[in-house]
Symmetry: C2
Subunit: 355 residues, 2 copies
């Protein structure tokens, strides 16, 4: 029925072990023998049995990339970049060579699904796992994650964090690439303050996520430094990282405080929704209200007016995470690297109206 390695061996008149060796290419085989085997493989249209191979070798060529929301380019860009480093270029023959199979798993931001996927990857004896994006801060979940990642690491799976803060005290992780969300958030708000804004609304991401907290903390640090503490709670509205949330939260914000002169959004997608809400109220950007985002996704520069935001080098970070997962790059000192966030000032922010 299905052709096996033994069939190939028979046809090439060699032993199964030899066939295995030429297929894996990690052992010397005479050129003529290799030739013969390869021809047999082609003749028989043989395809390696992944599970059998993984079982015998006790490793597999799967690399998992976990993302919170695959429909969000924030994750898509990182995952795609990681995949280019992991997947190899292919040999143009459609025959799979020694490359790894980079697979993207969409957790939808759910802690349960995150753990489930890790278990599934553990089952598959994944060669590496890349966790992207912010983490949920629930202590129970964090403990479960630590435990799970430790087990994965013990089983030989390389664990890399990308755009996620390092775990409290885990030796399991090869490397953690953390974005400077706090610094970026701070500089963004400082920019608004320097323009003269004082009443700044904040449309935050979902509660209990590190990304949300860090960006918000950066914002509040800046506010506090400017002597504007005290009104934080009232001027902050939380919601998911999507367009709709930005829209709704901004309406809520302007209801609570119509005198807001600037709105900082949790990310660019939310900023888009916020902008729509502001316009629906008949207000202009940036003349009446300034708007700022975070991430600098590709569409942000094309918004009208172009969106002031904080640029995160998503592609570069994803690619680096991919290389780390493949062991192609040396981990940073201490296993932790902070990735800079750059303020991008564009047309959506301007000084507040006088009066």
């Amino acid at each position: 029925m299905t052709v096996t390695l033994a069939d190939v061996a028979a046809r090439a008149r060699v032993s199964p072990a030899t066939v295995s060796r030429v297929l894996n290419g990690n052992y010397p085989v005479a050129a003529s023998t290799r030739e013969r085997v390869l021809r047999a493989v082609d003749d028989l249209d043989y395809v390696l049995n992944g599970p059998a191979s993984a079982l015998a070798a006790a490793t597999s060529d799967l690399v998992g990339i976990l993302v919170n929301d695959i429909a969000d380019p924030f994750f898509g860009i990182m995952a795609g970049a990681a995949q280019t480093e992991i997947g190899g270029p292919g040999d143009g023959s459609g025959r799979a060579g020694g490359e790894k199979l980079a697979i993207v798993c969409n957790t939808g931001g759910s802690p349960e699904r995150e753990l489930t996927y890790l278990t599934l990857l553990q089952r598959q004896r994944a060669a590496a796992v890349v966790l992207t994006g912010g983490a949920v801060e629930d202590p129970a979940h964090q403990a479960a994650m630590s435990a799970k990642l430790t087990k994965l690491a013990d089983a030989g799976t390389r664990v890399v964090l990308c755009g996620r803060p390092p775990l409290p005290d885990s030796e399991a992780v090869v490397a953690a690439l953390a974005f400077d969300n706090r610094g970026g958030g701070r500089r963004l708000t400082e920019h608004l303050l320097s323009l003269g804004h004082r009443r700044i609304g904040y449309v935050a991401g979902p509660l209990e996520r590190t990304t949300t907290r860090h960006r918000l903390e950066g914002h509040r640090d800046a506010m506090r430094a400017a002597g504007l503490a005290g009104d934080e709670e009232r001027l902050t509205v939380h919601g998911p990282y999507d367009r709709r949330s930005g829209y709704d939260a901004t309406h809520e914000l302007l209801r609570r405080e119509p005198e807001v002169t600037a709105v900082v959004a949790a990310n660019d997608t939310v900023a888009l929704g916020a902008s729509a809400a502001i316009r629906d109220r008949g207000l202009r950007i940036p003349e009446d209200i300034s708007v700022a985002g975070f991430d600098d996704l590709p569409f942000s520069v094309d918004a009208v007016p172009a969106l002031t935001t904080v640029r995160l080098p998503l592609f570069e970070a994803g690619a680096r995470a991919g290389r780390l997962a493949m062991g192609k790059e040396k981990p940073p000192p201490g296993g932790i690297a902070t990735i800079a966030a750059e303020l991008m000032v564009r047309g959506s922010t301007a000084p507040p109206r006088v009066g």
Copy 2:
């Protein structure tokens, strides 16, 4: 070292066979026995060995989802939707149950990588494969794809096409969900014609892709029906499906023909770039030039002015593909379904200036 099924059996004082049966749940086991086994599993923190299981059972719980560009929400939305149907909700314990592992593979639009991923999936004995988005029209590649998909199907892998036209003559495919790209393209251009536009530029996608061709054919059908044939080549510029391409191609288009009053883009992302180019030339949308896109991605409604486009039910299509891949839904008659594309008229299109 690693705990195996036999360890669990020993601890639960049953045979390995019994443990296997409770784990797979597809065979009657006494409640008390099951209880004991489950407890042993928890005590020992046992994780099933996927490869061993797949080898013995000759099947696996992997489902592959192939996308052309994971950073593009067009694919992200479909893939995410498919994954919700495939991955199951999890049981909240982080312990993986009977669900499938939905994995997204990013081909980058490369035919070679597409075939490579299919081979990798074939190796893993994937339970199903979902191919999303347009196909490359190169005959050699199409033949190779047909052959590969047939082999996958023969090995028991369910193949589903989502947003991709059915293969010429393949019995391999369970179901093909094709978008009505041609009809959508035609109606979009008819809309522009009805507004009074006559000189319409077209920023097309990459050559040799079904999506590109069908949308362009719809456009040209409409032009021809209006007696406006003849100038197609000059008013069409091809490029990748990205923002940059839309920007560059639109500049090129306006260089070739400054009298263009409307630009139709291959998709919404391209339309964003086209809009930026138009503005950079000091022209207004829609007063000087109308712009239209395709897909109706989430950001399109927030563009300024809001983008006229053709809505594709990406989430619904992806979810349906996921269900078909799981065998949860009956395939459409003949295995082929055409998914309607709906014209969304918004602010970016208006009658051309008079004179």
